[in-house]
């Protein structure tokens, strides 16, 4: 019998209380009538009967509660809408933030056993992540035991000719062991085999899915087709699947990386990227230790080339800048703040509603509804609100996620846009559930706890004065509600200050002088293919023809070519040696290096970089003349401070160079990082086959004409100079500078929206609490007015409560905001975490919010009509 009673607990408590005894009695009779094997049959049947009927009764009650909920929410649409929107804001903000954070930081990379994949770098003083040279890569691979496989790749864009317009493609050269190590499979055809890697083998290539679709129309017969890249024949051996991105989502085409003995000669030729797979059971630390030993051995073996060259092993997952990570962590933190505020607001709304419904609940209790039934009804109501809000929030997040795509760093081997997938939906459902249960059940319990007959006594609270009334009625609840509002104010201060600090940082970065005038400069790339343009004179011919025609265009004031645009290409760093000065890689904490670029005459004029001394490179700086160099001011300051740098010599990139001019510094490494000094070399002083990688390829045109007017003319000129030459990367210099702060401004925008939401919600919280307090105290206020209190005194009374609430929230909020600022100092670009203007602005906004929140309740308090209010008793 005890077992049957236990089984009855599957029924709702109200049902059990009503019918449990009789059901037990009936079961007892059935049990008495049964004998032998019939007992077992009875038990089994009873068990399933209880399961089925208990579920059915629960379902009945749910339907009943839902009907009741629809009616009760329909009666207070304002409340329902507010609660739904508040929930939607909290869930939406977090779902959107989580979808990006999960996509970038949490989700495993889309490769086989991604946790075992690592990236290997050389470590040099000042450069923790330096690309290894082929020689060092070969030695690492030969000497290490910690890795199951090791492969290398490097980017080498190529021109595709013969399929529509000539096109510039992002090609990655990979060793044959790389793709199998990643667990990649070809969608069509095959992957590279070791035979493809051999020098002299026929050219083979793999297509990315988007390129296959765009250029080859998704033709399945593409495998085996011959294509021409940089004037060399290749055979398509396969197509990669659509979700394969390596090394980044920009990769369009892959060819084998082939090394010849010559490539292994120069250990300073750093251009490879190396991925390895840890052997099963080998820890990252062990791999690091082993690579450290190997680097030490290589340094002893090659003391000159591998001087101070260590190694660095990083999980492929962690190949993400500290800044990208911090941006997302800050975003998630802000979203969490919004959720907390939304929850506090929701709890407050529900508490207020529960108080307002005391009478209704008391009536239901009087009619025989048990506490369990009432709580259940309230929880159902709150869950319905939460689910509706959650759905709306997910919809908002789905709409917002594409806007967050800029926060996905392009360096990761993943697609650009995060999608709202199953994981994200589970996360949203959990959030919604937590919000609904946490902030639905709690007020429901509190409300039903006081749903006794006292709620029926109309003026129960009104008899005494303010204090007594508060004590007798919802004194504790009012304190709880105040605490919730204080928490809201606190969190909104944190958000306002964080957003403010980041906005200040963004402004500061945007105000950074890049060293050139970006306005009115259009850039495009004509990457001249090798070996067609391996001879320097052939390239010079191309530049001369193109530049002279471009300069003749109306509106064009200057035009020139350079190896790589600043900010777009941040590397190209070479060591500097100066006669009579000791060669040291780290001098005074700074590495003795400079960035190298070849330029045509007129580059400084086109970019608006000031020429301080001497002259620009010129067409008469030919290979038989002394090698001329224009250097930046920072170069002069480092090597010849307080001396005349002109005509001085230094050794750089295998040659002796003579300073002919000094120009202003530019921010090669972008607006936020310090850049090495710059060295510009004359484009004609490059021995044939010497620095083909540095052959000028980026055209910069300063003009008063619009891009739309200029571009067709530029294309026509380039087609005239070489019909097979593709034009790519058409951008204005202003766009390039803007791109520098793109992820930041995206983050600031999102954070700004979060802060605005928080601000609004906290204001609504203050408003709600004070309005409620005023309506509860209407009689007291009426008595005061009747006794002759001035309206100013009444307003002061309401304001005082609002200001107290705000102050109680702002003070701890400021402390927390400072801590938050400290935590994201790396993002602040030099703005202090205790930045006074930001804190003052945030505090000012809070004062404003408090005043606005108090305004309507105060007005309402003044307008209380003493006669009506007192007669209501």
């Amino acid at each position: 019998m005890r077992a049957y009673r236990a089984l009855l607990h599957l029924y709702p408590a109200s049902f059990r209380a009503e019918y449990g005894e009789e059901m037990c009695a009936i079961f007892a009779r059935q049990r008495r009538d049964a004998a032998g094997p019939a007992v077992a049959t009875l038990w089994a049947a009873t068990f399933f009967e209880v399961l089925r009927n208990a579920a059915a009764v629960h379902w009945d009650i749910l339907q009943q509660d839902l009907r009741y909920t629809a009616r009760s929410l329909g009666r207070t649409p304002g409340f329902a809408l507010t609660a739904i929107v508040v929930t939607a804001l909290g869930v939406g903000a977090n779902t959107a933030a989580f979808s990006v954070t999960d996509f970038v930081l949490i989700r495993p990379l889309p490769f086989a056993e991604p946790e075992r994949l690592v990236k290997l770098w050389e470590r040099l003083p000042g450069y923790p992540k330096m690309e290894p040279s082929p020689a060092n890569y070969r030695d690492w691979k030969r000497m290490s035991t910690a890795f199951e496989a090791m492969g290398a790749f490097y980017g080498l864009p190529v021109n595709l000719v013969g399929h529509g317009d000539p096109e510039r493609l992002e090609r990655t050269a990979v060793t044959a062991d790389l793709f199998p190590m990643l667990g990649a499979h070809a969608l069509l055809g095959r992957l590279f085999a070791p035979a493809d890697d051999r020098a002299g083998a026929a050219g083979t290539l793999l297509l990315s899915y988007p390129l296959w679709q765009a250029v080859f129309g998704g033709d399945a017969g593409v495998v085996g087709q011959r294509v021409t890249l940089d004037n060399e024949p290749y055979t398509v051996i396969g197509v990669m699947p659509p979700d394969f991105h390596f090394p980044s989502r920009e990769a369009e085409i892959w060819t084998p990386a082939r090394f010849q003995e010559l490539d292994f000669q120069d250990r300073d030729n750093n251009y490879l990227e190396v991925v390895a797979k840890l052997r099963r059971g080998v820890s990252l630390d062990r791999a690091r230790a082993e690579m450290g030993v190997i680097a030490g051995q290589l340094e002893r073996q090659y003391p000159k080339e591998n001087r101070l060259t260590g190694s660095n092993v990083i999980r492929l997952r962690d190949e993400l800048s500290q800044q990208s990570r911090l941006l997302l962590v800050a975003l998630s933190g802000a979203a969490l703040c919004v959720l907390l505020i939304a929850c506090a607001n929701l709890a407050n709304l529900l508490l207020a509603r529960a108080l307002a419904r005391q009478k209704e609940l008391a009536v239901r209790a009087a009619m025989g509804a048990g506490r369990e039934r009432l709580v259940r009804q309230l929880v159902t109501e709150n869950l319905v609100l939460a689910v509706l809000g959650g759905l709306l929030g997910v919809l908002a997040a789905v709409a917002a996620v594409p806007l967050l795509a800029r926060l996905v760093p392009s360096s990761l081997p993943i697609a650009q846009a995060p999608s709202v997938d199953f994981r994200v939906l589970i996360f949203a459902a959990l959030l919604t559930g937590l919000t609904g249960v946490g902030f639905g059940v709690f007020p429901a319990l509190r409300a039903s706890g006081s749903a006794d007959l006292s709620g029926l006594r109309e003026g129960a609270r009104a008899g005494g004065g303010l204090r007594e009334g508060a004590r007798a009625g919802g004194g504790r609840k009012e304190r709880l509600r105040s605490a919730l509002v204080i928490a809201e104010v606190m969190a909104s201060v944190v958000l306002l200050v964080s957003a403010g600090l980041l906005i200040r940082a963004l402004w500061r970065i945007e105000a950074t002088d890049p060293g050139f005038h970006a306005d009115g400069v259009l850039t495009l790339r004509t990457a001249l293919p090798m070996p067609k343009y391996a001879v320097t004179a052939r390239r010079a011919e191309f530049y001369t023809r193109v530049l002279s025609e471009v300069r003749a265009l109306p509106g064009v004031s200057a035009a020139a070519y350079i190896s790589f645009l600043p900010m777009v290409m941040q590397g190209g760093i070479w060591p500097v040696a100066i006669d009579g000065q000791p060669r040291d890689l780290t001098r005074g904490g700074e590495s003795q290096t400079a960035s190298m670029r070849f330029v045509t005459p007129g580059f400084f004029a086109a970019m608006g970089i000031p020429l301080h001394r001497g002259r620009d490179v010129s067409d008469s700086d030919t290979i038989d003349r002394p090698f001329a160099a224009v250097v930046s001011e920072s170069f002069v300051r480092r090597y010849w401070p307080d001396q005349d740098p002109l005509s001085r010599h230094f050794q750089f990139a295998f040659h002796d160079r003579m300073v002919v001019g000094v120009v202003g510094n530019i921010r090669v490494r972008g607006l936020e990082r310090n850049s090495e000094p710059q060295v510009y070399l004359a484009y004609k002083q490059d021995p044939d086959g010497g620095f083909t990688f540095y052959g000028p390829q980026d055209l910069v045109v300063r003009s008063s004409a619009s891009t739309g007017a200029l571009l067709p003319a530029l294309r026509r000129i380039i087609r005239g100079a070489d019909p097979q030459q593709p034009v790519s990367d058409v951008r204005t210099m202003a766009q390039i500078v803007e791109e520098e702060t793109a992820s930041r401004s995206a983050q600031v925008r999102v954070l700004g929206v979060f802060a605005a939401i928080a601000f609004l919600l906290a204001g609504v919280g203050i408003h709600g609490l004070l309005s409620f307090a005023v309506s509860r105290r209407a009689q007291e206020i009426a008595v005061r007015i009747a006794l002759g209190a001035r309206s100013s005194a009444i307003v002061r009374m309401v304001l005082r409560q609002g200001v107290l609430l705000a102050a109680a929230g702002v003070l701890p909020g400021v402390a927390l905001a400072y801590a938050a600022g400290r935590a994201m100092q790396a993002l602040l670009a030099g703005v202090q975490p205790g930045d006074a203007p930001t804190f003052l602005a945030a505090a000012g906004l809070c004062v404003l919010m408090t005043i606005l929140g108090c305004l309507f309740p105060a007005l309402r308090a003044v307008r209380v009509d003493p006669i009506t209010a007192i007669r209501a008793e």
Partner: protein, 120 residues
């Protein structure tokens, strides 16, 4: 709580268990176990209501206003403290009639097609 101004037709078709409970209460007020016994006797043991099914139906029928719980008790010697007695409500009678009519029409339709015994 009964819905306001219910129409008997709105509850049709009635679940068989509800119909049987109404039939059991048609001639006299009964308590739960008596309903189970009456249904079993009338159907020759073919339908044995379980306690759960019975009370779930009773709860719903109370809400729908088909039956009422009565407070007057039989003489103490026949009574058990725990027992609760139910009586068919006028609305319950109307709904039972409507259901019977519905079933009769169904049977006559079946008869017309020769699917049931009796005159076409």
């Amino acid at each position: 709580m009964p819905d306001s101004t219910p129409q008997p037709g709105a509850l049709l078709p009635l679940p068989p268990s509800s119909f049987h409970i109404l039939l059991a209460l048609a001639d006299e007020d009964r308590h739960g176990y008596a309903i189970i016994q009456d249904v079993a006797a009338r159907t020759g043991g073919a339908l044995k209501l379980s306690a759960g099914t019975l009370y779930r139906s009773i709860q719903r029928m109370l809400e729908q206003g088909l039956i009422v719980e009565i407070l007057e008790r039989p003489a103490p010697e026949f009574d058990d403290e725990r027992r609760r007695y139910y009586r068919i409500a006028p609305f319950g009678t109307a709904v039972a009639r409507a259901e019977a009519r519905r079933l009769t029409q169904l049977v006559s339709m079946a008869r017309a097609r020769g699917l049931a015994p009796g005159r076409a």
